[in-house]
Each structure stands twice: as structure tokens, then as C-alpha cells.
């Protein structure tokens, strides 16, 4: 039984009022600003965002370290990233994000390794700078092919007054100008992963761009040079994106940061255009390159054929007719695949409803892919979005969609319980909660260990996975067969 838009709005407003009743008054007031119903024509989904999470409510958010080491820097494959501080942060984020890469791990690439200073009490009391120096020496000796080192600060570093910048500078000089990047991404900074992305972007600006010898790693430039910015190659996403750009006739000179290298970062200012997938985590460095090096940037969306097609044309519009013609050929070539995928899966998914709660760009970016399969997104929200994300979201969501920013465990369970979507797309912490409730679920951070989901090749996998989740026979088994 489907509701009209007005009925949906009324119901969603009631739901919001209902969940707010469970909070102490002061907290309810604060949470009310983050829960809303999208009104067609409004500029930003009516919610406040990028504000501190409230204590004790079970936020799904992470921290600045997760944003810097876990997201931005960690996938750079030929550098060694030190989780600087106690052992836990590096351990919990060890190889968990599925940033695929090619290389000989432990020899010339290091993504799925856990390098940590494993702080002990004495390091807290006396400071960890001496230890950090020694760590860098040991990395140089045991991992001689590393192209650089980053220091990913954990909470204590900023609190005990360590000077990781001085250590990095000293050691860089000692190793003949080696790239050593101190990153101040202590977990208590900011309100979520988001500040960590920003700090990590700034570190690229200050310690990579500003220190790159222009004669290093030169290649012949071409008029078709682009860089993929903000694709972390989860399950190979950047690869299934890169292949399309190359088929258009463009030359991808860098990937940020999935399967990326230091040389690729250094050479990116030579690009003619930066194409930006995850706006949230890498708009900062894109803006900087535009200001300082005059490299324009364009946002794109490679989830689902409708958005891919529009994005390919948008990217092509920055180049000559040759590229534009190629682009039409690429679109035509893949249409057979997407038509077949849609013919196969749409009948099984048509009319199904989805509620999302994810990070980065996905709360809006994946909506088109669901709609290509005939599905409707009835609720969405960002783990760490800003107002500009919610502005962009208005172009994706339908009138009356329930919007929840930095949703709490309690709210999300209540919303799903009442709305009863056919599918929830969120993270590992939510997965088993909803599956116990009998609601089909896909992890939309790690692609539930599947992928890639980007590009045309990825869309086929995406469609198959959504069908697999929703139409699994197991959901019938989850009902009580003994009920009278």
C-alpha cells in the first residue's frame, strides 16, 4: 500500500516527533535539527549538519584518524603509514576498507600492513618523538623501497605536545629529502571523520605539492590528462572507473588515493582536469589545485548507467570533439550490457524501497543506481556530511524523503521498524541489527565484500547484489512457522 507524497510527509513528521520523545529535553532539542522531511524546492533538505555528536546516543561516526589514515592516506600504496600512538587504532583499521592495489606487499607496497609506534606509558610520560625518529630509521632499514612515510597521529600525540613536524623535517633532510608527512589527525579533533579528510588534504598540499622537485618523475604531458580524485578503489572501484575514462580517450595520470602512488600525487597538478568522485573527502585539495595550479575540477557520479552516462558527457564537455565522439561510442558500447542487466534485475526489484545511512558521497550518489533498477530511496542521511552535501542531495531525493543526519542507533532502528523498507544500506555496525529484524541489508561502505560498484562493470555487480539481498529465500525462514 503506497502512500501519497503528502501522506508520506505527515507520517515521516510523526516518526520524527515520536523518536524525539525518547530523549531528555535538552538532547531532543539538539537532535531535532538533524531530522527532517525533504521539501521539494528547499535548498538543503532542512537539516543541520557537521555538528558535534551527542554523548551517549550511539553515533555511527568515527574520528579524524579514521578520515586521514583510514580513508585518505592509507590507500597510498608505496608509502609507509605509521599509526602513531597506542596500538588500537591501527589494529582496528588494519586492511578493513578493502582498498585494492597491485604490488608486492612488504617490499614495494604496504597498504595491508599495520605499522604502529605502539605507545607505552613511558612514551606518554616522556613524549614519543625520540621513538618516532628511531621508527623512521627502522622503516628505512627494513623497508628500503618505501617512497615516503606518513605519521598518522592518534589522540595522545596532540595532548602530550609531541613535535612530529620537527621529527619529520629532520628525518626528511637526513634521508636526502625523502617525503615524510606529519598528519595532525588526532581522533578528538573535529566532530567526525570529516576533519580528518580535510587535515589529510592539507598535508598533501604542505608536504607533497610544496616540496616536489619539478624535475622528479617527468612524463610528456598530453591535452587529455585527467586525475581521478576521491576514489578509494574499494573492491576495485577506481579501476572500473578508470577503464571508462581511458576508453573515452583520456589519459588518467593519477588515482587519489586507491591504488595510488606518491608519484601520482606529485604529478596531479599537471592534469588538465581533476574529476572528483568523493566530493566530501577531497574537495579541499581539488579547490587548492584550481587556485594554485589552475586545474579545473568537475564532480562526477559513476553509480548506475543514468548517472554514469551524464557524468561521461559532463567530463567530455571539457575536452575536444574527438573525446566527445569517443564518449558517445563508449556509452553505446556499454548500453547492451546495462540493458541486459536492467532487463534481468529490474523486474525483481521494481517498486522496492531502500533506506540508506552511509558516509562520504554515497547517501546521494547511489540513489540513481537504485532508481535505474526501479527502486525508491525513501530515507537517507550522512554520517559526516556538511551543508554542501545536503544541498547536492536535493537534486537526488524525492519530495517527502526522510532525512536523518548523524543518525543515532535508536533513531535508525525506530525509523526502519516503522517504515519497513525492503532494503537497508549502511555499515557493518548496523548490518546485523537489521538482519536480525528480518530486513535485507547491504553494507554500502565495503560493498559487503563484493564490488566493484563503480562504472558499468560495477553496476552489473551492484544489481546482482541488491537482488541477492532482497530476494534471498532466507527472509521467509526468519518468520515464525509455529505461530497460530
Amino acid at each position: 500500500m503506497s502512500l501519497t507524497v503528502e501522506e508520506t510527509k505527515t507520517r515521516n513528521k510523526e516518526l520524527i516527533d515520536e523518536v524525539l520523545e525518547a530523549y531528555p529535553e535538552k538532547t531532543a532539542k539538539k537532535r531535532a535539527k538533524h531530522l527532517a522531511v525533504h521539501e521539494e524546492g528547499k535548498p538543503d533538505c532542512n537539516v543541520k549538519s557537521n555538528i558535534k555528536s551527542l554523548p551517549g546516543v550511539m553515533t555511527i561516526r568515527g574520528c579524524a584518524y579514521a578520515g586521514s589514515k583510514g580513508v585518505v592516506w592509507g590507500p597510498i600504496k608505496d608509502m609507509v603509514h605509521i599509526s602513531h600512538g597506542p596500538v588500537g587504532c591501527g589494529q582496528y583499521s588494519w586492511a578493513a576498507r578493502r582498498n585494492y592495489y597491485i604490488g608486492t606487499t612488504g617490499v614495494d607496497t604496504f597498504v595491508t600492513m599495520q605499522f604502529t609506534s605502539d605507545f607505552q606509558e613511558k612514551d606518554i610520560v616522556f613524549g614519543g618523538d625520540k621513538k618516532l625518529e628511531k621508527i623512521m630509521d627502522e622503516i628505512q632499514e627494513l623497508f628500503p623501497l618505501n617512497k615516503g612515510i606518513t605519521v598518522q597521529s592518534e589522540c595522545p600525540i596532540g595532548l602530550i605536545g609531541d613535535d612530529i613536524e620537527a621529527v619529520s623535517k629532520k628525518k626528511s633532510k637526513e634521508y636526502g629529502g625523502k617525503t615524510i608527512v606529519p598528519v595532525r589527525c588526532e581522533g578528538f579533533r573535529g566532530v567526525s571523520q570529516s576533519l580528518g579528510h580535510h587535515i589529510a588534504n592539507d598535508a598533501v598540499r604542505d608536504f607533497v605539492f610544496d616540496k616536489t622537485d619539478p624535475d622528479k618523475n617527468k612524463f610528456e604531458p598530453s591535452p587529455y590528462d585527467v586525475a581521478i580524485i576521491g576514489d578509494y578503489n574499494i573492491g576495485g572501484d577506481a579501476w572500473s572507473s578508470r577503464i571508462l575514462l581511458e576508453e573515452m580517450g583520456l589519459r588518467v595520470i593519477a588515482q587519489w588515493s586507491g591504488d595510488g602512488t606518491l608519484a601520482e600525487l606529485e604529478n596531479t597538478p599537471k592534469a588538465k582536469l581533476n574529476v572528483l568522485h568523493c566530493y566530501r573527502s577531497m574537495n579541499y585539495i581539488s579547490r587548492h589545485m584550481e587556485e594554485k595550479y589552475g586545474v579545473p575540477w568537475v564532480e562526477y557520479n559513476f553509480f548506475g548507467p543514468s548517472k554514469i552516462e551524464a557524468s561521461l558527457r559532463e567530463i567530455a564537455s571539457h575536452f575536444d570533439d574527438k573525446i566527445k565522439e569517443n564518449t558517445e561510442k563508449v556509452i553505446a558500447k556499454y548500453r547492451t550490457l546495462t540493458d541486459a542487466v536492467i532487463a534481468k534485475y529490474k523486474p525483481r526489484l521494481e517498486g522496492k524501497t531502500v533506506m540508506l545511512f552511509v558516509g562520504g558521497l554515497r547517501p546521494r550518489h547511489v540513489i540513481g543506481a537504485y532508481e535505474d533498477l526501479g527502486m525508491n530511496v525513501v530515507g537517507t542521511g550522512y554520517e559526516f556530511g556538511h551543508n554542501d552535501d545536503y544541498q547536492r542531495t536535493t537534486h537526488y531525493v524525492k519530495d517527502g524523503t526522510l532525512i536523518y543526519d548523524d543518525v543515532t542507533g535508536f533513531e535508525f532502528e525506530q525509523f526502519v521498524d516503522k517504515i519497513k523498507p525492503d532494503l537497508v544500506g549502511s555499515g557493518i555496525k548496523e548490518k546485523y541489527v537489521f538482519q536480525k529484524m528480518g530486513v535485507p541489508f547491504r553494507q554500502m561502505h565495503s560493498w559487503d565484500y563484493s564490488g566493484p560498484y563503480h562504472g558499468y562493470d560495477g553496476f552489473a555487480i551492484f544489481a546482482r547484489d541488491m537482488d541477492m539481498a532482497i530476494n534471498s529465500p532466507v527472509w521467509d525462514l526468519a518468520k515464525d512457522p509455529f505461530a497460530a
Binding site: A64, S117, G438
Partner: protein, 519 residues
């Protein structure tokens, strides 16, 4: 075109298609500016050498691929083992996201836990307000009957005083004055996750036994005939706890299980999400002071707790994760001694069946060399079991095991005829283990999921026993303790052994003469 709607291919095969291999080649040749292939090969070979091993073992500051986590993880484990209890970690919020993810990836179950979400201002002024608001919000939303507080390293570095903060929060009405908020300081820069388990469990017992933070009189112990059981930090808790309970019931012993998350991490899929399920009740925790004795199955998870319980006048039996025949024998003998109850015939039969299973298979395992790593108690239990099987535990390594632990492992080697060429490595990590496997190869490796990198790099077949296990499903549902658990461990070892043997004898007309159907 590599992809196909009829038969959709995944990352596993997609990127092997020629379009993608060409893409990789092009990226590498033109934009990565990596090292030449011969240089990479040279360094790769050097990392396998004795020279590299010596340099690697001289490391003093750098840790690479450790096999340990930080204290609060253990505290969250403990809180999850008490009835209707919510874990509240005071400090930065990202840590809590990590603990929840980590446990959910291992158990494939929800893990509830809240944070006080401290940020820069709390770093300057302390996190008192976060505690005051946080406790109120937690109680209103999730309605736990107890909130167990621990700390992240941020709160520890700035020196927040939990006792004072909780009292202040109660004065301000966050939670009622008599509401139970046990707490423990769990600094991440001391010990590991097992230390956190110890501190958190001691915190809860202290709360109930020593006057509930000044709201009740201290308890006087009135000894009775029950015993307490503490399992310690255990990735197999769902299977193990059920097995241990079965052993107690077969022995006819009334036992209290202190910290029992075996239901919380094992709820059904039937349409309902149960945030709380099972666990030790407050009444049980309180009455546990009167027990005759406490069994601690993993000594290193409960050193302070053991001392505290002993001070109350109980006998404490601390074991080292007994596994297999002699391990379980030891546990049951101690249980028998303390309770005066004999081991029943049915259990003797179970023991006999495990011995029977070992007899059937021992010829395949005798003399095989093993490397193993993990938490200190698990290493002791597995070392003993391997020695029982006639295997050689050649390299036994623990990141969070110290010299005292190493001496215990050495004592096991010394007591066995097959322990002569075995070595123990305290405070070492998996990069050290890589050197050991490269220079002194063994037949099999036992460890957690991260061991798969060692399997890949050194060709040593991995038997997954430990925590965390992310890349295999449902191991945690079966016990590794008790005679039943011993059978599971034996089968896991044998499965990997036979797999490896078949994989090594399956090339037609070259090696497949040994491809036997009877083994």
C-alpha cells in the same frame, strides 16, 4: 567487454580480464614510477634471509602487524557479558566505532556500545559534561539496567577521574543515585585487550562487593558450595561458554559465570533485534563473593581480578586456556578437588572418544612442525595440545605475552620429548614471525585472520585459531575448550593438513600417484 549480465563476474575474476591487465600495465609503466622488477625481486628475496631476520629482530621502536589490540576492547567485551548492561566508553567517539566494527566483523553479530564523544573542548576542559549528558542520554534511549564505563586513551592522557565524574553525574540527576555505574580506567598505552578485560571485570566486581560506590555497605563473604567461572577474553566465547556450562552440569556443580556474552553474541534472526540478551545478572555478580572458589580459564585475562577475589578469601584456580586431553583433564581434576565431586562416567567416555580420535589420526600429525601466535593463554593451551599430538610447536609467539609467560611456555617444551627444538618469542609481532617462517620453515601456521598474509608470503598453510577471525564464518559458534572443543581443534588441524596434502599431490601424471582416496 569483460562484464556479462548473464553471469556477472566479481572482483576476483573481473580484474584478470585482458582489458584490466592492460590497464594495470599501462598505469604502472607510465605513472607509478615504481622500482624496477629486478630490484623488487632482490629486496623480496632479501626479506626472506637470515641477514634480514637479524636486522628485523633488532627492532626496538617499530611494531609491524602486531597480534594485540587495546584495553577498551576488552572492557567492551566484559560489559557485553553482563545482563542488560550497556558499555559506555569515555573519550573519543571513533574508538567506539572501531570496537563495534571489530567485534561485529568477528562474531557477525551486532555489538552495542556508546561513547561520550569527547572533542577538542573536552580535551581542554575535561569531559565531565560529556559524562553528565552521556549517562542521561544512554539511560533514556537504551534503558540498560547497568552502564559499565571504561576509557579511551584520550580521557586517560588528560586525566579524567571516572569515580568523581560518575558521582557528579548522579548528583546532577543523569541517572538515579542508586543506579549501577561500575567503571574501570582502561588506558590503551598499558597492556592490551586482555588487560582491559581484567580491569573492567575487576571494576564490576568491586562495584558490587565493595559498597556500590558508597551507596551500600561492603559485602561480607559467607562461603557456600558454588564456584565461579571466568572465561577471559575469548573469540570462541559463544561456543566455549555453552560447552563449559555443559561440563559443569555433567559434574553436578552449581556455578556462576562472571561475564558471559555467549547469548548477547548469539541471538536468533527471527524478526526482533535484541540489544541485550543473557549475561551475568547483578544478583549473580553480587552473590559470587560467597563462592567457594573461582576458576579463571585464562589467567592473563584476569591477573588483577584473581588477586582481588583471592583477597576476599576465595581459592582461585588460574588456568591457561586448557585445550584437548591433558588440558581438560587438568581443569576437571581441579574442579573435582574443589567440589569433592567425581568426574562422571559420561565425561570419561567423552574423554575416551577424544583419545580415540587422536589415535585414529596421530600418524598424520606426528613430528609435524607448527608456528603459532596469539594471546598468551591460548598459546599455552595450544602448545600443550600440540605436544599431546606429537607435533612440534617450533615457534610460539605472542605480542602481548611477556617474559614470565615465555618461561611457562618453555616449561612445557622442557617437559616434553618433542619440545627440544622449540622456541618461544614474547613481545614479538607478525613481521618477526614472517622472518621465522622464512628462515626456519614449518609445516603449518596457527593464528588469526591476519595470518593469511604470512600464508601468502611464506607458503605456510594457515589454520585459523584465534581472534579476530574475519574471513571465515561461524568458528566462534563451536567450542575449542572441553573434550568436545579438543575434537574441533583436532579436526581443524587435520582438515588443513589433508587439504595441503591433496593440493600437493593433484597434478595428473606428475604428482597424482599420491592422490589417495584413503588417508
Amino acid at each position: 567487454m569483460p562484464q556479462n549480465a548473464e553471469k556477472v563476474i566479481d572482483h576476483e575474476m573481473l580484474f584478470r580480464q585482458p582489458e584490466y591487465t592492460a590497464l594495470f600495465e599501462n598505469k604502472k609503466a607510465n605513472f607509478e614510477f615504481g622500482h624496477p622488477a629486478d630490484k623488487v625481486a632482490e629486496i623480496r628475496d632479501w626479506t626472506k634471509s637470515w641477514d634480514y631476520r637479524e636486522k628485523n629482530f633488532k627492532r626496538e621502536a617499530l611494531t609491524v602487524n602486531p597480534a594485540k589490540a587495546c584495553q577498551p576492547l576488552g572492557a567492551v567485551f566484559v560489559a557485553n557479558g553482563f545482563a542488560k548492561t550497556l558499555s559506555f566508553v569515555h573519550g573519543s567517539q571513533g574508538c567506539v566505532a572501531y570496537y563495534r566494527s571489530h567485534f561485529s566483523r568477528h562474531f557477525k553479530e551486532p555489538t552495542s556500545c556508546v561513547s561520550s564523544s569527547m572533542t577538542e573542548d573536552a580535551a581542554v576542559f575535561g569531559g565531565l559534561n560529556n559524562m553528565v549528558d552521556g549517562l542521561a542520554n544512554t539511560l533514556s534511549l537504551y534503558k540498560p539496567e547497568m552502564i559499565a564505563v571504561s576509557t579511551t586513551c584520550m580521557a586517560e592522557v588528560i586525566g579524567d577521574d571516572l569515580d568523581a565524574f560518575i558521582k557528579t553525574a548522579k548528583q546532577k540527576g543523569s541517572v538515579p543515585a542508586e543506579y549501577d555505574v561500575p567503571f574501570a580506567h582502561t588506558p590503551a598505552f598499558v597492556g592490551s585487550h586482555i588487560t582491559g578485560y581484567d580491569n573492567a571485570l575487576k571494576g564490576i566486581l568491586q562495584h558490587f562487593w565493595d559498597g556500590k560506590a558508597g551507596t551500600a555497605p561492603k559485602l561480607e563473604r559467607t562461603p557456600n558450595e558454588t564456584v565461579n567461572f571466568i572465561g577471559g577474553f575469548d573469540g570462541y566465547v559463544v561456543g566455549n561458554m555453552k560447552e563449559i556450562k555443559r561440563l559443569f552440569s555433567m559434574m553436578g556443580v552449581e556455578a556462576t559465570f562472571l561475564c558471559d556474552p555467549s547469548d548477547a553474541w548469539d541471538t536468533p534472526t527471527d524478526g526482533e533485534f535484541r540489544m541485550y540478551d543473557g549475561g551475568t545478572t547483578k544478583e549473580e555478580a553480587t552473590a559470587a563473593i560467597n563462592a567457594k572458589a573461582t576458576f579463571i580459564y585464562q589467567e592473563h585475562s584476569a591477573e588483577k581480578t584473581a588477586k582481588y577475589i583471592a583477597e576476599k578469601g576465595q581459592e582461585v584456580v588460574a588456568l591457561n586456556s586448557p585445550i584437548g586431553v591433558t588440558g581438560t583433564d587438568k581443569f576437571l581434576k581441579e574442579l573435582s578437588r574443589i567440589t569433592g565431586k567425581p568426574v562422571p562416567e559420561a565425561l570419561k567416555r567423552e574423554r575416551g572418544r577424544l583419545v580415540d580420535a587422536i589415535t585414529d589420526s596421530q600418524a598424520h600429525l606426528h613430528g609435524k612442525k607448527f608456528a603459532l601466535y596469539g594471546d598468551p593463554d591460548l598459546m599455552l593451551g595450544l602448545t600443550q595440545f600440540l605436544l599431546d599430538l606429537g607435533c612440534e610447536p617450533t615457534h610460539v609467539l605472542s605480542t602481548n605475552g611477556d617474559d614470565k609467560w615465555a618461561a611457562k611456555v618453555q616449561a612445557l617444551f622442557d617437559a616434553s620429548p618433542v619440545g627440544r627444538d622449540c622456541h618461544v618469542y614474547p613481545k614479538r609481532d607478525l613481521w618477526h614471525m614472517r622472518s621465522l617462517l622464512n628462515t626456519e620453515p614449518v609445516d603449518f601456521l596457527i593464528g588469526n585472520t591476519y595470518g593469511k598474509y604470512l600464508e601468502r608470503d611464506t607458503g605456510t598453510p594457515l589454520i585459523r585459531i584465534g581472534f579476530p577471525i574475519f574471513d571465515r564464518h561461524h568458528y566462534h559458534r563451536l567450542p575449542i575448550w572441553g573434550y568436545q572443543g579438543g575434537l574441533h581443534v583436532l579436526m581443524q588441524i587435520l582438515d588443513e593438513y589433508f587439504e595441503a596434502l591433496d593440493a600437493n599431490t593433484n597434478i595428473p601424471s606428475k604428482t597424482d600417484y599420491s592422490f589417495d582416496i584413503i588417508r
